[in-house]
Amino acid sequence: MLLRKMLRDMRLHKVQFISIFLMSLLGVFVYTGINAEWHGMQKEADRYYEDTALADFWIVGSGFSAEDVSAAAALPGAAAAQRRLTIDGTAVLGGSPALRVNVLDENTLSRPLAVEGRQFDTALDGVWLDSAFARANGLKTGDTLAVSLGGSRIEKTILGLVMSPEYIYDVKDDSVFMPDAKAFGFAFVPRQALPGGAALPYNELMVSSGGGADGDSVKKSLEQAFDGRYTVVLTRDTQLSTAMFKNEIAQNRAIGGIFPIVFFLIAALAMLTTMTRLTSGQRLQIGTLKSLGFSRRKILRHYVSYGLWLGLAGGLVGLVTGPLAIPALLFPMQKTVYQLPEWKAAVSAADIAAVAVAVLCCLLSSWFACRRELGDVPAATLRPRAPKAGRLSRLEKSGLWRSLGFSAQWNLRDVLRNKVRSAMAVVGVVGCIMLLLWGLGLRDSIRAVTDRLYGELYTYGTKIGLEGDIEASALDALQARYPGQLLQEASAEIRAGDTVKSGNLTVVGDGSLYRFEDAGGRAMSLPDDGAAISYKMAELLGVAAGDTVAYRPLGEKSWQEVKIGAVYRSPIGQGLSFSSAAFEKTGSAMRPTALLTAGDVKNADGLPGVENVQSRQQLIDSFNAMVDSMQSLIAILILAALLLGAVVLYNLGALAFNERTRELATLKVLGFNKRKIRALLQTQNIWLTALGIVLGIPAGFFFIGCMLSTMSESSDFVTYVSPVSLAVSIAATFLLSFAVNLLMSRRVRSIDMVGALKSVE
């Protein structure tokens, strides 16, 4: 019977209970959905890594011998080793896309995975090409591909299209933000298929630890074993693709973790207010049940079960729908960035824990709400609760109070006497505007990076990439043809105390096409002596201007100390920057890697010494592609925000309305017209919405910051929300509040004056 009572009670208070159900559903929906997404990505990647025996360490150096391979494999903690030759070349195709060619004589580690054509075989003569690259450039199995590799040209038949676990994030280096399959790809060629293959050196050694072993100690022993013969040892934490993918998963995990907190909090608050209302309204019924001989435990269990069923129902629906819907929405966006052989959502045990959390939130708050009514002896419960002593607060005694007018007094008192209900409304609005800002601000922040990078910092029109061994005469000829600024970009390790970070080493020639800004966004020039350090790198190393750091360009053995003359802030590429004059004072010579020029450049591709040509527009486009790829995530955020706001505000309105029906009826009897009564109800809504907005804006900014900071160490994105986005968020929240209130105040007409004033029950 009590079960039926519960169901009918729920029908009577359907708005409240539906909103609790929805909140619990949404919380679990979002959590399990995002969880299923990243969990699935992780699982698929792990399987991919294992199936293809992805290496754990990459030692980049020169001339690795067969003895080196067996020496590496014999190191403690190492399970297998393989050497290969990796060369950056250019495919002879329109736009001269870069192609990284891996030359193999065995295929045990980081094996390519064929998706079309034949499996990779070291005994065959041909090339296995990056499937995404092939698709983007219109190539298929059986076509002939020509590649220019360090001056020589080879032509091979494409025997298969492959994916590689080293290129889930398929980019050339970390200066590129979005993979562009048309501009970069990788290929695998059997060593014996190349002319003079036997004489070719090996410049990479891959080592697998076979799981288990402690990565740091293996890395250390590798560094010792090959001391002086390597330029860098990469691990899965520093190898670009694996590291980036790991970051992406961490980011999704962070979003999935923060999101549901808001919903669960709302669910708990809504449950608390609703159950407090319900049980105090049913005080007499509780007394009746007690007098019938129902035990305290049984009655408590009855009321707590409201929370149990609602939380459970919402949670289970969320558990089923979340992992189905959210990965389906997010995977298409991930697919534009990452290459995985399979995309599958995966449900984990943590998802069931989320349902438990939802249930617990509802359960505890309903227990908390009805405990109060159950404390009294049954005789007392049968009497109506003595009205609260209603002490006047200091505010209510002051002269200011009297000058407030009826509407303000009425509403203020109502808010203060119903703190939990008001808190729920405020938290709901905070959540709403926070999610709106998050969605819009994330986009703004990345757009702002584009604007800052290509509007203020990099004002060149074209970046001409130079070959590493460009001859002086060729450089002079290029400079004469395209006047501009020389730039040297290299990777380096930077050390302060015991902390070592990898970063960029940038040397800037004379000119104003490549600029710097300080932490406050003001233009600055590089110091004439010593280096400038980027803001984020300074933070990572814990240094400031005036300190000394040591750096070592990749491939060099000795550390060089340099004094920090200034700090600059850059959204991408953290590290040290020198003016060419200051760099030469340290005793090094500048070796330019790029020539920046103001205008558009055509037909520079074939010129001697030119490696590639990138227009500024291409760079901007790749950034914008990143923003576009976030579209569906942003849509989810905004949708969730609006739903959250609407549900919470409607709930608040319904509660406030129901509780004040008698008061409103009295006002109606006194002759207040509908418009006045509506205004009265609207006032409170506006106050609480405004308060929620004031609190929600900083929260929104905070979460954008959180999200941006989970991006890689090399980026330093500053939270930026455009005035338009801010205005839209505020306006949308207010509009929502008004709309909900309008819906609610239509009920004013239906207040039955006589009925509402007659019965006490």
Binding site: M1, L12, Q285, T288, K290, L292, G293, S295, P378, A379
Partner: protein, 233 residues
């Protein structure tokens, strides 16, 4: 030994100087199968006595013996099962669960009492056989009170306690309710205790206990109780 015995029962609300004595050394007896009326003006302590007898509240002092057991020392759990097994309550305002139908309101007690009477039969017995599926709000006051009586007796209690059962009803309907209660007493040997301020009820009672300011002022046995239908209001 009488079925119900109150011995010097004291009930105080509040503490110290401000303590209010709602029952002051109340002593009385009621025999099994009697129709007893506790009479008194507002604030005389009638409801206090009824709440103590019904196990809804605990006495400050004295002993309350029901069917040989002293309930005044019971803890909460024992009081709960005492209410459950021994007492049937009928309230002035019926105290029905508004979200349950007539049948469900009565069947509710099946959740806690093992050998409860069938809800349909109980309602049939109070003349509500045609209203099983209706909600309390759809019924008149008299019908609601009958429903509440059906709920109380379906537990087959040893003692039926009624707090102003006719207080919210017009005289004719009130008479019907009293007739119903009296019939249950006469036909089924059900012990009934009614609390009221209405002196008319003394005419139909087997025993009358008068309270004033928390004290017993008179206790008498009615040698010739009238039938409820014969009483003029």
């Amino acid at each position: 030994m009488a079925f119900i015995e109150f011995r010097d029962v004291v009930k105080e609300y509040g503490a110290g100087e401000h303590a209010i004595r709602a029952a002051d050394r109340v002593s009385f007896e009621i025999e099994k199968g009697e129709f007893a009326v506790i009479l008194g003006p507002s604030g005389a302590g009638k409801s206090t006595v009824l709440n103590l007898l019904g196990g809804m509240d605990r006495a400050t002092g004295g002993a309350i013996r029901v069917d040989g057991t002293d309930i005044s020392r019971f803890n909460d759990d024992a009081l709960t099962s005492y209410r459950c097994d021994t007492i049937g309550f009928v309230f002035q305002f019926y105290n029905l669960i508004p979200t349950l139908t007539a049948c469900e309101n009565v069947a509710l007690v099946k959740d806690i009492v093992k050998n409860a009477a069938d809800a349909g039969e109980a309602l049939e017995a109070v003349g509500l056989g045609d209203h099983l599926r209706q909600f309390p709000a759809q019924l008149s006051g008299g019908e609601q009170q009958r429903m509440s009586i059906a709920r109380a007796v379906s537990k087959k209690p040893k003692l039926l306690l009624c707090d102003e059962p006719t207080g919210a009803l017009d005289s004719e309907t009130g008479m019907m309710i009293l007739a119903l209660l009296q019939r249950m007493c006469r036909e089924n040997g059900q012990t009934v205790v009614v609390v009221t301020h209405n002196t008319v009820l003394t005419q139909i009672a087997d025993r009358v206990i008068r309270l004033k300011n928390g004290r017993i002022v008179e206790q008498s046995v009615n040698p010739a109780p009238m039938r409820a239908e014969e009483v003029s209001w």
